[in-house]
Amino acid sequence: MLPDLLKHLGIQGTVAVELNGRLVRRQDQASTPVTEGDCLEIVHFVGGG
C-alpha cells in the first residue's frame, strides 16, 4: 500500500502524492496499492512568494 512505500522511502512531513498522474486523496492513501511500474509524483512545500 502507498503508506508502506512512503515509510520505506523515509518520507515524513506534509506531502501530496500523484499516482500515475492522478491525485491520491488523503483518506484514500491507506487503501491505495502500489505495484511495479507505477509512476509516483511526491511533492512538498518550500519557501516561495
Binding site: 512531513g13 506534509t14 501530496a16 511526491i42 512545500f45 516561495g48
Partner: protein, 279 residues
C-alpha cells in the same frame, strides 16, 4: 469600515502577507515572519528530493497560528496551475490558493488569460482563489466576476523592488471592484507598502524586500508598522492637495506681537497692520 481583512471565509487582523522565499536561512524566515505580524504566508510546492525525504521542514517551523497560502508558482498554463492547486489543497487541507501563472520569463508578468481560465475551474472546485494579475482594471473585474475572493495586481515586476509604478491604475482598480485588492510583487521598501495602503489597498504581499534586506527581521518590523500606518491613514482620510500655502497658525492676536517698522506708514498702528496682514 471594518479593520478585518476578509478573504473568502477567512479573517485576518494583519494586512501584511509575507512570502517565504529567498531568506538566508530557515531561522531567519521564522524570525522575520514573527516580526512581521503576518497571519498568512505563501509557500511554493516542489518535487520532494528522495535523498532528503523529510519534507516541508518550513511548515513545521512556522510561527503558531500562521495560515498557509500555497502558490502555484512555476505554472505557465491554467492546467498546470490547477494541478498544483489540487495537490496543495490535498496536502495542506486548505481552500486558499494564490493563483500565479507567469507568461514571460524575463518580466515574470502574469498570464491574465490563463489565470482567468484557471480561476473559473478553481472557484468551481471550491477554492478561495487569490489571483496574481496585471494592474489592469479590466482583468481585475473579470476575475471578480468569476468568483475570486480577491485580486492581487502587481506593483512592479516580481523581485524588482521598484515600488508602485502605476498608483493611478491601482487606485482605479480599488474603486471599480468590491472584493479586496492585495498589491503583490515589486514592493521595495516600507514606504511603497505605506503608499499602497494609503491609496486604499486592502493588503500587501511582501517577500523579496524583507527576505533580501540586510536585516530581514528589522525590515519585517518596518513593514508591519508601515502597513498599519498606511491603513490608519487611509481610514482617517488625508487632506486634499492644494497649490498654495495655508497657514497652520492663527492670524488672530498677531498684532500685539509685531514690531512697528519706522517709515512704514502702514505699520504705524496695530489697526493698520491687521488690515495689511488680512488683505
Amino acid at each position: 469600515m471594518t479593520n478585518t481583512l476578509r478573504l473568502g471565509a477567512h479573517r485576518f487582523s494583519s494586512r501584511l502577507l509575507t512570502g517565504t522565499g529567498r531568506f538566508p536561512s530557515l531561522q531567519s524566515t521564522v524570525d522575520a515572519l514573527t516580526a512581521s505580524g503576518s497571519e498568512l504566508c505563501t509557500v511554493a510546492l516542489r518535487r520532494l528530493p528522495l535523498d532528503r525525504p523529510d519534507g516541508s521542514a518550513l511548515l513545521k517551523a512556522l510561527p503558531s497560528g500562521m495560515k498557509i497560502l500555497p502558490n502555484t508558482a512555476g505554472a505557465t498554463t491554467a492546467k498546470e496551475a490547477v494541478r498544483i492547486a489540487r495537490l496543495a489543497r490535498e496536502a495542506l487541507e486548505t481552500d486558499l490558493v494564490k493563483l500565479e501563472i507567469l507568461a514571460d520569463p524575463v518580466t515574470l508578468y502574469p498570464h491574465n488569460a490563463e489565470t482567468l481560465r484557471a480561476a473559473i475551474t478553481l472557484v468551481d472546485e471550491g477554492f478561495t482563489v487569490l489571483p496574481y494579475c496585471g494592474d489592469d482594471p479590466v482583468i481585475c473585474r473579470e476575475l471578480e466576476a468569476v468568483g475570486c475572493a480577491a485580486v492581487m495586481p502587481l506593483a512592479a515586476p516580481i523581485g524588482s523592488g521598484l515600488g508602485l509604478l502605476n498608483p493611478q491604475t491601482l487606485s482605479l482598480i480599488r474603486e471599480l471592484i468590491e472584493i479586496p485588492m492585495i498589491v503583490d510583487a515589486g514592493i521595495g521598501s516600507p514606504a511603497d507598502a505605506l503608499q499602497a495602503m494609503e491609496l486604499g489597498c486592502d493588503a500587501v504581499l511582501v517577500n523579496t524586500a524583507i527576505a533580501a534586506a540586510k536585516e530581514p527581521i528589522g525590515m519585517a518590523t518596518a513593514f508591519r508598522l508601515a502597513v498599519e500606518a498606511g491603513r490608519l491613514s487611509f481610514l482617517s482620510g488625508r487632506i486634499p492637495r492644494r497649490r498654495y500655502a495655508t497657514a497652520s497658525s492663527p492670524s488672530e492676536g498677531l498684532s500685539t506681537l509685531r514690531i512697528p517698522n519706522d517709515g512704514d506708514v502702514n505699520r504705524e498702528t496695530n489697526h493698520l497692520k491687521e488690515d495689511v496682514w488680512n488683505s
